[in-house]
């Protein structure tokens, strides 16, 4: 089973690598730097507080996120969570409210299923994360998004790296707004695909660094993103 998983992961790494390289030509570059603190209590609950600073390229401010995530492990391999995220972004409509920054709020909840845990596979993860998120913007249309993320991760034995790949699909329930003669019709559609390839670096038992490189393919926009993501996590 593990051998098959490794074969599959190698193939997936290769495929996503090809996607990232071929997509990098006409895309914008973003840098996401984050830090998170996680605490688990009563073995089944955990709370995570994170901060992330996003840059366009490597020097231009894009977004600043503060996120709180509460999760509950119901059964081996099945976890639910609820998240709140507050973002500060540059205000493109500052002439309307005379404020240089705008605040966006996001509430999401979801289910994280770790399939290989059912089979007691320790070092390899195959997770499916389904998330429903609601975004509230001041000068943009509110968003209701369904996200489906597939993650493969393998913890290399006796080595501090855990390489991973992930694919995520973004379906926006209110993506399209059509103004007909006498009514407004709102319909959903795929908003984006996002791919990540990277590795967790185990600094100590309670600290790890996540390094990854991703690509966000926006369906109705040419502003595709290449993403360099660095995230430090501490368990307390």
């Amino acid at each position: 089973m593990v051998g098959y998983s490794m074969f599959f992961i190698r193939k997936l790494f290769f495929s996503i690598g090809i996607i990232l390289i071929s997509s990098s030509i006409h895309s914008q570059f973003s840098t996401w730097m984050g830090i998170g603190v996680n605490h688990t209590f009563h073995k089944m609950f955990s709370a995570e507080l994170g901060y992330e600073y996003r840059l366009k390229n490597t020097n231009e401010f894009d977004k600043s996120n503060v996120e709180l995530k509460l999760s509950q492990n119901w059964h081996k391999g099945i976890e639910t969570f609820v998240k709140y995220r507050n973002s500060i972004v540059g205000n493109r409509n500052s002439a309307l409210n005379l404020k240089p920054f705008a605040y966006d709020n996001r509430v999401s909840f979801g289910l994280d299923v770790s399939f290989l845990k059912f089979l007691d596979v320790k070092r390899t993860k195959l997770n499916w994360v389904i998330t429903q998120q609601f975004d509230n913007y001041q000068f943009k249309r509110n968003s209701s998004m369904l996200r489906n993320r597939l993650l493969f991760k393998h913890d290399v034995k006796d080595f501090p790296l855990s390489p991973f790949v992930s694919v995520e699909h973004f379906y926006r329930w209110n993506r399209d707004v059509v103004y007909t003669n006498d009514e407004v019709i709102i319909s959903g559609g795929t908003n984006a695909w996002r791919y990540f390839i990277g590795t967790d670096v185990e600094i100590s038992k309670k600290q790890r660094l996540m390094l990854s490189f991703g690509f966000r393919d926006l369906i109705l926009s040419t502003n595709d993103n290449l993403i360099l993501r660095v995230n430090y996590k501490l368990d307390i």
Binding site: L68, L70, Q72, V82, Y84, N86, N93, A95, L96, N97, Y103, D104, N105, R106, V107, F109, F134, N136, Y137, Q138, F139, K140, R141, N142, V177, Y179, D182, E183, V184, I186
Partner: protein
């Protein structure tokens, strides 16, 4: 579980983000811009021919107007031999009394009338007298409600109308700009151009009050422009509000 639920509720409350007028909604305001060609209005010229004092009654009056609403006049004739007041006390008008005798000739009546009117300050017209004909020329171009002889036997004629001349038909104008002001702001935040029928549609608006306007040439003063505006309210999401017709002059 109860705590988790309360926490979730708290999070949702925090997430409530105040929306104001502007982009980020699902409603629209539509309308049509129509236009009419015109030629500038002229200075209105009124001539009044007077009769002799024997034909005038104590209390007779005639009406004289101007382009300014605050400067509308009535000229009434008072004979000193009468005890009662000759003033008809018209509201919204400035009364000018002209004292006369029944023995006055038409030229004397004309001269007395001219002298009485000239006693007023900041007249919006210029006066000239030729024998018994008083010529009143408006200082400003534009529409003036015609003077009226009312109870007097005088002859009042308009020799030159100040009304702008409208040329052709009114129809939807293509490619013209229509502006939108969000909420109580003073200046427009966005503008769009009309289609081939003069129609326009501002879309993606949030609930709130908006001012839609177009720019029209002033029909009186050359080089001056006016806003033709309407205040329109969006009261719910996914609403299409008909802003109606905005008629401008070219």
């Amino acid at each position: 579980m109860k705590q988790t639920f309360l926490l979730l509720l708290l999070v949702l409350v925090i997430a409530a983000c105040k929306k104001i007028e502007g982009p980020g909604g699902t409603s629209a305001i539509r309308g049509q811009l129509t236009g009419q060609d015109y030629s500038f209005g002229d200075k209105e010229i009124t001539t009044v021919s007077f009769t002799s004092g024997a034909t005038i009654e104590h209390g007779d009056y005639w009406l004289l107007n101007s382009t300014e609403n605050s400067k509308l006049y009535y000229i009434y004739y008072t004979n000193p031999t009468w005890i009662s007041s000759a003033d008809p006390q018209l509201q919204g008008r400035i009364g000018i009394a002209v004292s006369f005798n029944y023995s006055d000739s038409n030229i004397e009546i004309a001269q007395r009338t001219l002298d009485s009117i000239n006693q007023q300050n900041d007249l919006p017209f210029e006066l000239s007298l030729t024998q018994d004909i008083l010529t009143v020329t408006s200082k400003f171009s534009g529409e003036v409600v015609d003077a009226d002889d009312y109870t007097t036997p005088f002859s009042v004629d308009i020799s030159n109308q100040g009304t702008p001349n409208m040329l052709g038909d009114t129809f939807g104008r293509a490619g013209e700009r229509v502006y939108i002001i969000y909420g109580d702001n003073t200046y427009s935040a966005n503008s769009i151009r009309t289609d081939e029928e003069g129609k326009f549609s501002f879309e993606g608006l949030q609930i709130g009050t908006y001012t839609i306007y177009a720019i029209s040439e002033d029909t009186i003063q050359n080089g001056k422009f006016n806003r033709i505006s309407k205040t329109i309210e969006i009261t719910e999401k996914k609403q299409i509000v008909d802003g109606g017709v905005f008629n401008v002059f070219y």
